[in-house]
């Protein structure tokens, strides 16, 4: 059976895996196995980023994401954020343990200097210090809250993202706990909170002891499905080792599409179980509107 192919319909989201897989933490649920000393992927240079930004702008890129690893381990991150914000809105995904006063001040300056939004996405796992640090490491909880306080004091409203690890009926209580916590300990009185599904991938797969029994995506499943909800139709990831089809598949050699955006293959066959995860959970990392039922499909794209 041939796996179905998905075309890049438009480059909405350009990801820079700016610090490769190098992270100062080793969270138990990390989907791409990042951690201290993990150099599966290495750093991008500001020149790499500028070159790909130029090409992405010609492709009509909508939004730029910085991830890793931990982006703030890169000594030139702020320069790369500023360069990117000249092209498009930017989101940086961080564990917020490396955001001292000096960095918070610069981030706020960079944000104000752009007409585009700069989103700082901060990961937390629990409103309870012990539970959080069991996943993310000792002392992380209080460092993150101190960072959020600094960002807020300088006028930034970080987006706090939490991977859902509680039963649905506990959600209102968890939400209330986070709201209280951010207000009391970080002075964040109108918190932006986003709960994400736990993805059965990477270390999370090992952690939950899951069997590899998720199905593969088939041509039939894509019939009537809005493939804009799949990252491969709207995203690309730039790493130091080339361009990958999506952030979930950077471990997979066959998901490398080329060395640069300019020569990257325009389509990809969904041959991994992680593709089913994406199919099932949707684009968890960017805000794509769901399809309109019954609405007239838009006209065919014009030639640029």
């Amino acid at each position: 059976m041939n796996p179905p192919r998905v075309q890049l319909s438009h480059l909405d989201n350009l990801w820079f895996q700016v610090t490769g897989t190098l992270c100062n933490l080793a969270c138990t649920h990390c989907f791409n196995g990042s951690g201290p000393g993990v150099r599966t992927f290495d750093f991008l240079s500001p020149a790499d980023v500028r070159r790909e930004l130029g090409h992405a702008a010609r492709l009509g890129v909508r939004e730029i994401f910085f991830t890793g690893g931990e982006p703030f381990l890169h000594p030139a991150l702020l320069e790369m954020l500023a360069d990117s914000l000249r092209v498009a809105p930017v989101t940086v995904l961080t564990n917020a343990t490396l955001l001292p006063e000096r960095i918070a001040v610069r981030l706020a300056e960079i944000e104000r200097a752009s007409s585009y939004s700069l989103e700082i996405r901060v990961s937390l796992d629990s409103p309870n210090e012990t539970a959080n640090d069991a996943i993310r490491g000792a002392g992380v909880f209080s460092r993150v809250l101190a960072s959020i306080e600094r960002l807020c004091r300088h006028g930034l409203l970080p987006l706090v993202t939490v991977v859902r690890n509680w039963p649905l009926e506990d959600e209102p209580e968890i939400l209330a706990s986070f709201t209280r916590l951010l207000s009391d300990r970080a002075g964040y009185h109108r918190p932006r909170l986003k709960f994400l599904p736990a993805l059965p991938l990477g270390r999370e797969l090992v952690r939950i002891g899951a069997l590899h029994d998720e199905p593969f995506v088939t041509e039939e499943m894509l019939g009537g499905f809005d493939s804009d909800l799949l990252m491969c139709s709207n995203s690309r990831v730039v790493t130091d080792r080339g361009v990958w089809v999506c952030p979930l598949l950077v471990e997979m050699p066959d998901a490398r599409l080329g060395s640069h955006l300019a020569d990257a293959a325009p389509s990809y066959a969904l041959r991994h179980r992680a593709c089913y995860t994406c199919y099932e959970f949707g684009v968890f990392c960017s805000n794509v509107s769901p399809a309109i039922e019954g609405a007239t499909p838009p006209a065919a794209p014009g030639e640029p």
């Binding site: 438009h10 009509g60 409203l157 309109i292 838009p298 794209p301 640029p304």
Partner: protein, 260 residues
């Protein structure tokens, strides 16, 4: 010279719509367009329909109109926050119940887009974006490069949209334009109680865009909403000009400008 008045996001605010139409009538306008979302949020949804028809407003379909016309279970606003979704549900259920079958049938006849040719410029009207009726085009979340792509996609020199509720205009490096006309239905999260529409003036292939503030009797609207038992949070927005719900979808800059 040709002049168009364009608005969207009426959200059942018939008082603001009437005030806007009275303002338009004083401005020597060639045509009036509504970019959809007639219902939601406000009271007595049937009241906006005769106002639009009597003034000859050419209307396209928004996601709310699409939902009502097809009898869908929700407004397709695409919120992910549970609190936002529960407010969206309240207002959708109310609007669905109170929109007449005749008006729902009329919504079903509306086109999803319009393509005009004005003074040699190709003007495209959509509700959300040319590629999706419910795609949000926020000012701070749309790169120039992306907007150029959308103009290519729509084969247009000027693209007009609504759906977000906050107005903006950008003249792009290519010389083309994107205009989000804002919303007539509720104030735009800046602490002012007025709402907005857009006036587009075309002369010799040159476009100028002006946003017109609409002052209306918002106390009367709040009283009507109270009478209909609509949520206090919605009424607060009408009375204060600050958004109290559905904030999760706002990008950083738009969110930081508001109070909540």
């Amino acid at each position: 010279m040709r002049r168009l008045a364009i608005f969207g996001g009426i959200y059942s605010n018939h008082l603001a719509l009437a005030a806007a139409l009275a303002d338009v009538a004083r401005r020597n306008v060639d045509a009036i367009y509504c970019l959809g979302d007639l219902g939601a949020f406000g009271p007595a949804p049937d009241r906006v329909f005769p106002l639009l028809r009597d003034s000859g407003v050419v209307t396209i379909q928004g996601n709310y109109d699409n939902s009502l016309a097809l009898g869908l279970p929700d407004c397709q606003c695409g919120y992910t926050d549970p609190r936002d979704n529960s407010f969206a549900r309240l207002s959708y259920d109310y609007t669905f119940r109170r929109t007449s079958p005749k008006n729902k049938a009329w919504l079903a006849t509306l086109p999803a887009s319009l393509h005009l040719e004005i003074e040699d410029l190709r003007v495209a009207l959509f509700h959300g974006s040319p590629r999706k009726m419910n795609e949000f085009l926020w000012e701070s979340a749309c790169s120039d490069a992306f907007l150029e792509y959308l103009l290519d996609f729509a084969r247009a020199d000027v693209l007009c949209v609504t759906h977000t509720g906050i107005k903006w205009h950008r003249a792009l490096p290519s010389g083309r334009h994107v205009v989000n006309v804002g919303a007539l239905g509720r104030p735009e999260n800046d602490g002012g109680t007025n709402v907005w529409y857009a006036l587009l003036t075309f002369a010799n292939r040159f476009l100028s865009v002006e946003f017109i503030p609409v002052v209306y009797d918002y106390h009367a609207l709040a009283a009507e909403m109270q009478g209909e038992h609509l949520p206090d949070e919605f009424i607060e927005t009408i009375l204060t000009g600050w958004w109290t719900t559905c904030l999760e979808i706002l990008p950083h800059k738009e969110r930081a400008r508001g109070r909540f």
